[in-house]
């Protein structure tokens, strides 16, 4: 779901950078309000590594293959740290592996980072009660993990459909994009399930990892 270099009009690429710049500033400002802003950096660094490597692990889903994005998981565990972590992960993916691009880094970060923040808000909103039943907790984790991916995929589809260059066969490209939506739906189910597995595992093994400040 990484938009490569040269596929976006300059206005869209610049708008993406503007949104990413604003969201990064907002996230860092929120992080600085923590009592110890560096306390969550080890956690953020390790999840950045997971995010960075996840793009290299391909899961074959016909007609092509997918790779996990993990933005929902990052949002739940990292909170506001998720956005800068995704920005750094995407930068290294673009520079080292050519996944995405430097000109499209702003758009790609906004596309994956803002749903991560929304997953964080959504998860906290669902847990606002005194004690939430374990099943409801799992469902909300699944919805946050899968929903973040679906939101990113929807943004990707909207951006790519609205920026099809006039020289291309728009119908052929549009049909290919619609066909890819099936793959993204399956990916959302996988991401949601994977997020639930990780969160349940961490709750049992190291529950303090999941303690991030409330939004």
């Amino acid at each position: 779901m990484h938009i490569p270099d040269g596929f976006l009009p300059p206005t869209v690429a610049i708008a993406g950078y503007a949104i990413t710049g604003g969201a990064t500033w907002f996230s860092v400002r929120q992080i600085r309000q923590d009592s110890d802003p560096t306390a969550n950096i080890p956690k953020a660094a390790l999840l950045t590594a997971a995010f960075f490597v996840a793009s290299l692990i391909h899961i074959p889903i016909p007609p092509s293959s997918i790779h996990l994005v993990l933005n929902g998981l990052m949002g739940i565990i990292l909170g506001y740290y998720a956005f800068p972590a995704i920005l750094i992960g995407l930068f290294f993916q673009a520079v080292m592996f050519g996944h995405g691009g430097i000109s499209s880094l702003g758009v790609n970060t906004a596309m994956m980072g803002i749903p991560a923040l929304l997953a964080y808000y959504g998860f906290w909103w669902s847990q606002r009660g005194k004690r939430t039943p374990p099943l409801w907790r799992k469902i909300s984790v699944f919805l946050a993990g899968g929903g973040a991916l679906l939101l990113s995929a929807a943004t990707f589809v909207i951006i790519t459909i609205t920026t099809i260059p006039p020289e291309l066969n728009a119908d052929l490209e549009r049909n290919a994009i619609y066909a890819s939506l099936i793959g993204y739906s399956i990916q959302a189910l996988i991401e949601g399930s994977f997020t639930v597995m990780v969160i349940v595992f961490l709750e049992r093994v190291k529950p303090e990892v999941l303690k991030v400040s409330e939004p």
Partner: protein, 160 residues
């Protein structure tokens, strides 16, 4: 003389009929030329079948020079204009994914091709990074180690 004229007149429809017969026939000409074949694949190795290809010439990189669609194996072949030397940009796109590759067509190659009169097929893939799986693995380990090192650094600071 009368017989000669009759002979000429009878020949005309026969010749006309022959002309029509030639028009219905087939004619195949060939010339050897310099072609560029690209192979587009996803990172997983799956071919990008039926992806849209747009080729831009070095002289006019803003206007598509030729367009087409890859075959099921992700292959697309085009014959560049031998007079236009420089970087031919090839963009392959499918469902918002794809890549752009720059294929240099050097002056020297043109001389070689014209003197030896042999066809040159240049092969290239859309993998812009061009790294082997081992190189990618090493880079991934380096990237992960950078993140782990950052985590360890901040943990150490916290422990002091």
């Amino acid at each position: 003389m009368r017989y000669l004229l009759l002979g000429v007149l009878t020949c005309v429809p026969v010749l006309a009929g022959m002309g029509e017969a030639v028009a219905h026939g087939s004619n195949i000409e060939y010339r050897q030329t310099e072609a560029i074949q690209i192979t587009a694949k996803y990172d997983s190795g799956t071919p990008m079948g039926e992806a849209q290809v747009t080729v831009y010439s070095p002289d006019d990189p803003a206007t598509p020079w030729v367009q087409g669609v890859t075959d099921e194996q992700g292959n697309f072949t085009f014959v560049p204009d031998p007079d236009q030397r420089g970087n031919w940009e090839v963009k392959v796109r499918q469902s918002g994914h794809g890549d752009i590759i720059s294929i240099p067509l050097e002056e020297q190659e043109a001389e070689t091709a014209s003197t030896s009169e042999s066809a040159t097929i240049t092969q290239a893939t859309t993998n812009t990074t061009g790294y082997s799986p081992l190189q990618k693995g090493v880079m991934a380990v380096v990237g992960v180690w950078g993140c782990v090192g950052t985590a360890l650094f901040f943990l150490r600071k916290k422990g002091e």
